[in-house]
């Protein structure tokens, strides 16, 4: 259960994670809190309380504050009065708070009920996830069939090996194979979201980095054309660093994002170059740059900048998070840099990664 759900289920007045006042389902903030706007009890958001416990404090205005904690939930309940524990509260204030009386066992009971609700929700989520996984498994089985049928068609072409035959096939069949390949890489990205450990599945193997990015560029050519974005490769790389199979998903995310967030009529350049101790990749595009304070956050799961939400409605905020997970598995990092930023925030976006080896 996340903190937002806990806040919505809270019967008592409390602070949200930014320190703002939120009324509870049954109790509202008293006049004293509305006047002070939570400035006196904001410090309790940082108070560390053992998981599953509730602690009582008294704020500067003499009101009771409870800090309650459970996994992923840290709640500051304020604007109430625990008549038993709070001896500081003066007579007139105490009288004005007669509607706000909440004792610690009540808060503890609520915290325990949160744990029960959380358990029910998790069981429910697990059932739903299993259903989705079952469906996804069926989709994968269907894609297997597409592969086998496409491969059977390839077998009709001349050549001593499968790879040779693929080279000699019609462009349409090549496109079909590439499209199914893209679908397979999309499955890898979905797997990483559901199971981050899957970035490390299998053994590392030598990877022609230039070839992988070039393949992605060709796969996204059609999408780029539709958006009037010109996409090109540059650089020279002959190294084949050891990478996991998930690495291809990193190339997908960076190329896909560059086209998705590029301004129409602009250029996307993918550069792959060998460096002393690895292969350096950068993906440059032109469009809205990312503000300084958001440059780290774009790698967080589900985070999208307001500009990204405005320009591309159907994004999930998962791409760069996936890219970071893959980079982590390869003991490297994806860097972001903005260049030539104008007063309107437009400029060059550069995402780069160095693959060791």
């Amino acid at each position: 259960m996340n903190v937002q759900i806990a806040q919505r289920l809270c019967p008592f007045p409390h602070l949200n994670e930014h320190g703002g006042l939120e009324n509870g389902l049954h109790y509202e903030h008293p006049r004293q809190c509305r006047k002070c706007r939570g400035t006196g009890c904001g410090k309790y958001l940082q108070e560390i309380v053992p998981l599953g416990q509730v602690r009582h404090y008294v704020c500067d205005s003499g009101l009771s504050v409870f800090v309650a904690s459970r996994p992923s939930v840290h709640m500051v309940i304020n604007g109430v009065l625990d008549a038993e524990k709070n001896k500081v509260c003066s007579g007139p204030v105490r009288k004005s708070l007669r509607q706000q009386k909440v004792c610690q066992p009540e808060v503890e009971k609520w915290l325990a009920s949160l744990a029960e609700i959380s358990e029910v929700m998790e069981r429910h989520m697990e059932t739903r996830v299993r259903e989705v996984i079952g469906t996804l498994h069926d989709v994968k089985t269907a894609v297997n069939l597409v592969y086998r049928n496409a491969e059977a068609l390839v077998q009709k072409y001349p050549g001593s090996t499968f790879d040779e035959r693929v080279e000699g096939t019609e462009p349409e069949l090549k496109s079909l194979l590439k499209s199914v390949g893209l679908l397979t890489t999309r499955f890898i990205t979905s797997s990483i979201v559901a199971n981050p450990e899957s970035v490390r599945h299998g053994k590392k193997r030598p990877c022609p980095v230039y070839k992988v990015f070039h393949k992605m560029v060709r796969l996204f050519q059609e999408v780029a054309n539709r958006k009037h974005v010109h996409i090109q490769m540059s650089g020279a790389s002959f190294k084949t660093p050891q990478v996991y199979d998930s690495f291809e998903a990193l190339a997908l995310v960076l190329v896909d994002n560059a086209i998705k967030y590029s301004e129409s009529g602009q250029q996307v350049t993918v550069t792959v170059d060998d460096q002393g101790d690895g292969v350096y990749v950068s993906v440059e595009s032109h469009g809205h740059t990312i503000a300084q304070d958001e440059q780290e956050r774009v790698f967080e799961k589900g985070y999208r900048t307001s500009e990204a939400i405005r320009s591309v409605r159907d994004g999930s905020g998962l791409g760069l998070h996936i890219a970071r997970l893959i980079a982590d598995a390869h003991q490297t990092k994806v860097w972001y840099k903005a260049r030539n930023v104008g007063t309107d925030g437009m400029g060059t976006n550069i995402f780069s990664v160095k693959i060791p080896g």
């Binding site: 996984i133 996804l136 498994h137 994968k140 089985t141 894609v143 297997n144 069939l145 597409v146 592969y147 086998r148 491969e151 059977a152 077998q155 090996t161 499968f162 790879d163 693929v166 194979l177 199914v180 390949g181 679908l183 397979t184 499955f187 890898i188 979905s190 797997s191 979201v193 559901a194 199971n195 450990e197 899957s198 599945h201 299998g202 053994k203 193997r205 199979d245």
Partner: protein, 220 residues
Amino acid sequence: MATFKRRNITDIAKPLSLEELRRRAKIVVIDDDPNSFPLDILRKEGYSLELWEKVESLDRLERGDFDIIVLDIGGVAKDYSLQHEDGLAILEHLKGHNPTQIIVAFSGQSFDLSKNRFWQMADDALSKPVDAVKCKQVIDQLLRERFTIMHYWEGFRTILQDAGLTQRKIDALEKSLVKAIGRNDRESALTLMRNAVPALDVTTRLGVIGLKILALCGIA
């Protein structure tokens, strides 16, 4: 004065080409969906492949009849009264029996957190759906890196060490084995390997790996 370098087991196997490795290594794909693996293409390219839609014989797997086992996770060992995700139980059983057995995890359930052990325990992984190029890449890498006398001799030595044999005894055994293999005396070599440790369960495991070593030395 001429000096003679002592020959080790790993020196006597002739290096094999990839084509020869593909031909020699016996591979079984265990999957209830016969369309999930590009069998025809790989067979045409010289791989020695068999398809089982379920575990047809645990004995054959334990005996090391296959050099590489490509194993799905679900519904492959219904006859062995294991739990539903029986591929993992089979993998654990085979690895416990013979740590040198090469097993490829082959499943579409890479997104399932509860199956991570299956992927981690395997020697390599193929996540479904998969194309012929990827299958060849994974199997070829295993053939080059694992289907080697070095891999099996390391496994053999580990069993001997775990059984308490001293380094001196292991070296002496290796010396006798090199001689027997040099004479093309398969029976003596196999007897030496099987009898290296008297315990019966160890003898069976040593025999399974011993046969692989002899095959790679060309006297199977």
